[in-house]
Symmetry: C2
Subunit: 442 residues, 2 copies
């Protein structure tokens, strides 16, 4: 890794800076001060980074209402309020996500409900609260929602999730007719058409569009455009055979971010431009009115806003072959606060944030404190060999699927989460105590 003391701006939060004394600040707040006050590990969210990414998405996709923040990436009441203030819409994927959003005062009509297996209770809550869109995943759900809406005397706006046979996967795009996955109804085998027909005929459902999602960490417009073109074929058929114009097209999430310095984040503005052009062009060719495109970024908004600061504990150098060594640097968190390296072999950019380091570059592995050998945060990097006990080591891009997937493995307390803005620190979630760990016990 060249220049370990740098903070690559495409990887670190927008308001991260390294001061002349080597200390890294976020929105003007020195990270060591936060570690001192809130302990480590600690998640630190750059609020303006979050908000400006909301605005960038809104600008790229024709307005904030076309952008749905995907709660699954990270949701607290504070996050829901930020999304509301930025006038984005909100995706939820469980009844609890819906409850938390509503308790934050998020307007139900700007919420979209997702999930391959929504419970009857979740569907009833959607209808009762007046959720804007329900994205239907399967026939059973379609029938049940129609029944619930009938009981409530309402017409529930719905989209249908379709699988277009386009999948973005490990930086490659796979295009097939078939998709062997739990979500959605297939374009290829006629299931999507059958559902659309049923939804149009259902008395208490109002079909307003189709939804598809091609995957995660997508870096260009090709896959989105191809999926859109395929899905628009069904808009055409619905228009021609059922006489219904669907006003919305939800193309899901998957907007890629740069976890490491050698990656480039997806260029939102240019990808949005290409994608919207492809939709307009295809609709025009088909002789139908182009639907409004909706997108559902989660990671691309909250991921880069957040860093996790750990304290370095013990280090050791291990002989890994007759002529090679590896330095192990242990930090005071691990797979309980970030399961992604173990779960997805995810990579992170890590830096010492309390000072400059200038040791000899050495093969290094950053490991957590869990009682499991797979508890590795950064598997193999060349780091200066003077990273040592007491240093603060931070990983960038931990805002999405970090705290959201956190566990109490080894009964570790889940860390505190704070936000920073204009030199001020605001607590968002406090660190768990042993009492918290016991409070569910009978």
């Amino acid at each position: 890794m060249s220049d370990f003391n740098g903070l690559p701006p495409h990887v670190w939060p927008r308001n991260a800076t390294r001061q002349e004394d080597g200390v890294v600040t976020l929105a003007g707040v020195p990270l060591p001060d936060i570690a001192e006050e809130y302990g480590t590990p600690v998640f630190i969210v750059d609020e303006d980074d979050f908000r400006t990414r909301c605005r960038d998405m809104a600008a790229a996709f024709g307005g904030p209402a076309n952008v749905h923040y995907a709660s699954k990436a990270f949701l607290t009441r504070t996050i829901a309020r930020w999304v509301d203030e930025e006038e984005l819409n909100l995706d939820v994927a469980s009844e609890n996500e819906l409850s938390v959003a509503l308790r934050a005062g998020f307007p139900a009509e700007r919420i979209t409900a997702h999930g391959n297996n929504k419970t009857p209770s979740f569907l009833r809550a959607c209808v009762r609260e007046g959720v804007g869109h329900v994205v239907l995943d399967n026939h059973g759900e379609l029938e049940l929602l129609d029944l619930i809406a009938r009981g409530a005397g309402k017409a529930q706006p719905v989209l249908i999730r379709v699988t277009p046979g386009v999948e973005a996967h490990t930086n490659e795009m796979i295009a097939t007719a078939h998709e062997d996955q739990k979500f959605g109804l297939s374009l290829a085998d006629g299931a999507a058409w059958a559902a659309a027909e049923a939804a149009v005929r259902a008395e208490n459902l109002e079909l307003i569009g189709l939804h598809c999602h091609i995957g995660s960490q997508v870096f260009d417009a090709v896959g989105f455009s191809l999926a859109a073109e395929r899905v628009l074929g069904l808009y055409k058929r619905i228009h021609d055979e059922l006489g219904v114009r669907l006003p919305k097209l939800d193309l899901g999430g998957g907007y890629g971010i740069a976890y490491t310095a050698d990656q480039r984040p997806l260029d939102v503005l240019s990808v949005a431009g290409e994608l919207l052009s492809a939709v307009s062009r295809t609709a025009e060719e088909m002789g139908i009115e182009a639907p409004t495109v909706l997108v559902e970024p989660g990671r691309a908004i909250v991921g880069p806003s957040t860093v996790t600061v750990y304290e370095v504990g013990f280090t050791k150098t291990i002989s890994v072959s007759d002529d090679a060594f590896r330095r192990y640097v242990a930090v005071d968190g691990g797979m309980s606060d970030n399961i992604r390296p173990a779960l997805y072999q995810a990579e992170y950019d890590g830096r010492v944030v309390n000072r400059f380091v200038d040791g000899v570059e050495t093969a290094t592995r950053i490991v957590g404190s869990h009682c499991e050998s797979g508890d590795i945060l950064i598997n193999d990097e060349l780091y200066p060999d003077d990273i040592t006990t007491g240093d603060l080591f931070a990983t960038a891009n931990t805002g999405a699927y970090g705290y959201a997937m956190a566990s109490n493995y080894n009964l570790f307390s889940r860390p505190a989460v704070v936000s920073v803005r204009a030199g001020e620190v605001t607590p968002m979630l406090r660190r768990e105590t042993v009492e918290d760990l016991l409070h569910l016990e009978a």
Copy 2:
């Protein structure tokens, strides 16, 4: 899968039975009754299964004090009390695990403290509370613990974790000189010897043995015996050069269980016999007194005791190629209550527990309800095609690393945990509410 209505006794809890009406009971309690009262998903622990496995381990390894239950697999105060009542010792791997054990009244002197990166606070607590053994992982920790013990005017009994170059991995045993992992000090490169020498010389540490752990899901004695033989070489050298006899040898955990019907669990009694013989024989050949062997089963005690009962939600049949279909059966939990399939590609045995099923065997995938396509519980099995909405579907062997690694992903509530014994149900952990999910918010 042949006989889907069976309950393979080497996979299911010892007190699981299917009644003549098709309903499965655990310790005499019908699982549908528990699902009705506590909701789904729900973890159900067969207390006598847990206790009899404690006793089997104790019998195999020469008494309960030689068996340390590994808390990381699953720890609540109830579990700690059961372990105490069965007179086993207890392993902890974090300060919070230690706190919970002590709050359950578990005697500190029967606790062993583990971890590659114990915090200073954890080490101070170990000394202050009088923890029986601290397993030292590295030189820095050795020095710090000596200092802390000096401050407290105590001599802290310690073991040193060594890496013997024997690793059990995906059913194969790997034997090398080097181990590229975060735990322990190497036999091969002299680090283990240096630490042993330092520990013997440290004024406030009492070296009582060495520790090694060869991996997880081991099914025979070969790897344990080979590791023991290698580690005993260091006992010999410590005896000869330092004049110290180490009374204990801790061979860690890794005792394999059968997650699926085609696996065979490790035969504890025969493996223990082989292992203890190998240790005696090797010690005798070396002319040293054989140390007492300690073992640290976690999964092998709590894993098979527990089942998770889910309710089936929506199902769908998807065309996965031009001439093949797959049935998707969604349940109301998933990777939040069991991350192991996604994290380790772990397999589970699943059964319908509310009735007999007798449909046509069909390629089936059991999926969870999370907003993630990788949220799969059982990837590919031939199941009867009449498993349907409202059925109760249970996975066996979820006691270890199930609840212990549970998250609130998608803000799912963590399930209730109950134990059953002799027809009685006892709540252990209540299901989380939305209020619980919000209680850390600032």
